[in-house]
Symmetry: C2
Subunit: 422 residues, 2 copies
Amino acid sequence: MTTPWNHRYAQRMHNMGSSLLRELLKLTQDSEIISFAGGLPAPEVFPVEAFKAASCKVLEEQGQRALQYGASEGYYPLRQWIVEHMVRYGIEARVENILITSGSQQALDLIGKVMINPGDLILTELPTYLGALQAWRAYQAEFTSIPVDEDGIRTDLLEEALCAGPKFMYILPNFQNPAGVTLSLERRKYLIDIADIYGIPIIEDDPYGELRYEGENVTPLVVLDAEKHNGKSGSGYESGFMRGNVIYISTFSKTLAPGLRLAWIVAPEEVINHCVIAKQGMDLHSSTLVQMTAYELIKDGFLRDHVRHIRDVYGYRRNVMLDALERYFPEGTSWTKPKGGLFLWVTLPEEVDTLALMPKAIENKVAYVPGSAFYAANGLPNTFRLNFSNANPEQIEIGIKRLGEVLAEELARLSMNQPVFA
Amino acid sequence: MTTPWNHRYAQRMHNMGSSLLRELLKLTQDSEIISFAGGLPAPEVFPVEAFKAASCKVLEEQGQRALQYGASEGYYPLRQWIVEHMVRYGIEARVENILITSGSQQALDLIGKVMINPGDLILTELPTYLGALQAWRAYQAEFTSIPVDEDGIRTDLLEEALCAGPKFMYILPNFQNPAGVTLSLERRKYLIDIADIYGIPIIEDDPYGELRYEGENVTPLVVLDAEKHNGKSGSGYESGFMRGNVIYISTFSKTLAPGLRLAWIVAPEEVINHCVIAKQGMDLHSSTLVQMTAYELIKDGFLRDHVRHIRDVYGYRRNVMLDALERYFPEGTSWTKPKGGLFLWVTLPEEVDTLALMPKAIENKVAYVPGSAFYAANGLPNTFRLNFSNANPEQIEIGIKRLGEVLAEELARLSMNQPVFA
């Protein structure tokens, strides 16, 4: 049937849907399925009571303001709070360097809108965050990828890719989504140096940095970059960052709650000004009520204790999953051991296709995301991502056991060379 | 000073900022200024207490769900509510035809992303909503415009513009922003007929439709379109709308509160599916907490009474402003008499430049938006928009008096042919 819409869609809409995976993931919403597929926080760590108290206080004391239009840049006291908060990580910004966004996803979309022309090349990690690919495909970006190992992006392979002239590099330095790996300090320094030499900006996406379960924080790229451009440590954004190469993104989705849709961009003021103009055309501003409530909740130090609690819960779940993987996964499988975040990454023998295997996993009431989702072009079909934050320890134990059985059966089948749907 | 960013911005960012007006409007935030410039609702009509109760209830009973990620399509019960709500206006949709957006601005951005290729021609009213121009300029749209008169867009001028092959028409049929005019039923019918003949979709933007202070509702374009495509009245979206030409947008910003950022799109399911994919890349979904709270507040009929209250308040303010205009504005000025909405439109003698006059108005502690902001290309410089919802009746009286004095002085000056900064 023809509709007046058939030929009306923009070119960018072609190829934006990966419908098979979408349909498979819908199936994982069955409540009997133990899903390691999503990137969902554990709802039981949400600070519901504290949030309710903050919401009541805001509506009682500043209700009219909370329900009115607000500034595109974001709620000023919340921007100030973010400035102070980031000092803990060595990031020295001013309020003018902060833009509040409706989740990190909007930050990625904004950066795409401000920077990407059709055909522009973006350098990503391999594998990388699915949502960034989605956001930037809409601007008709092309992608080039460099593999990660346990120390993050393989910087030894970087220079050739930089010669192709990418518009920017997209890096998730901490507990990367999906691989769970962390970029080493040595590689971070190299990355900052080579980005400077080639004049290529870096988008540093850091949703999980605060969720570290072991080891020490590694200095953010944005800080190394500021130090380099200032010639000295610690005077960051005041002057030097304005010449810097890095746009930094972080979010409240993993430390407070994703249902708020609240994140932020840190960038040179000139970049923020461009982003503000773009944001006006996108949604005017993020919800005033949500921003004021979040600020009310966290302004007096709530977040520090709360994040400690989250670390305890997720760190334990990570341990339970790593332990279960050791016990239940068959010979020939391997996985990353993340020091934080929400995800780990499993690699199977080369002949396994995890997308083709998914219906079987779902049938056995367990789910993952096939690795192919996280590649801009063709990825390694023998990988998948597991989330360890959402399911509780008991579910993790059972789910990994189920998945181990599916994998063992598949490996046995492959060793006998049977077709999948025999 | 060069920065690595200078040459990194996308082409679309050129020409997106109208900096002079932006700077002038910043000045109007001075608390001594009576501003008719914004499009802000009156904060004193916000249902703060009821909102607080709803927010507490949601967090108490479904806190974990309210703080978790949600579906890109929007909160299902809210989409159902919207379906039922719209039946009052003759719009028959199914849940599958509804997408929740982060304000109407996001609906416009989404439509741009889904439909506009660089260079595509968009047909708008003249003047038209500034935010639509802003959203679609980011997709490098071109614009062609048809003037409005007291009965809305001049449909007698439409056919020639349609021959140029616009991607879609953008129409604000009720109490248009900025002109305050309403499209007559006769013209609506003609518009639907000619859109069908030329196969050009219509974007019907209806933020103010519920805020009518006199006269009867006029049938929405989306309903006329459904009737046409079904050959009979009232079976709307069930089948016929899926072949229809109209995308309809409405919002809770003017009936509940703009600080929520909550609006919706009604469209054929295939268009909604495209929009959902685009929205995933833009912000994943709109705030779960805000959607659930809004639903909790309105699910039992709250909105009908509340909108009646808003109509009383704004209708009275409109009357006060029309009355003050009669008394204080000089000979040679004229204005529209809107039957609803938030705005009216003033036309001055041709030699007056309202942008150039703005500093003088601000000096006299009163503000408007110069008409030139609402034109895609060159507009009539002798016009401006006045908002009558935000200032209270006393302020309206004083502000219109001040503005009348500024205009009288300007007209006297012009009749003596003095330079502006004599």
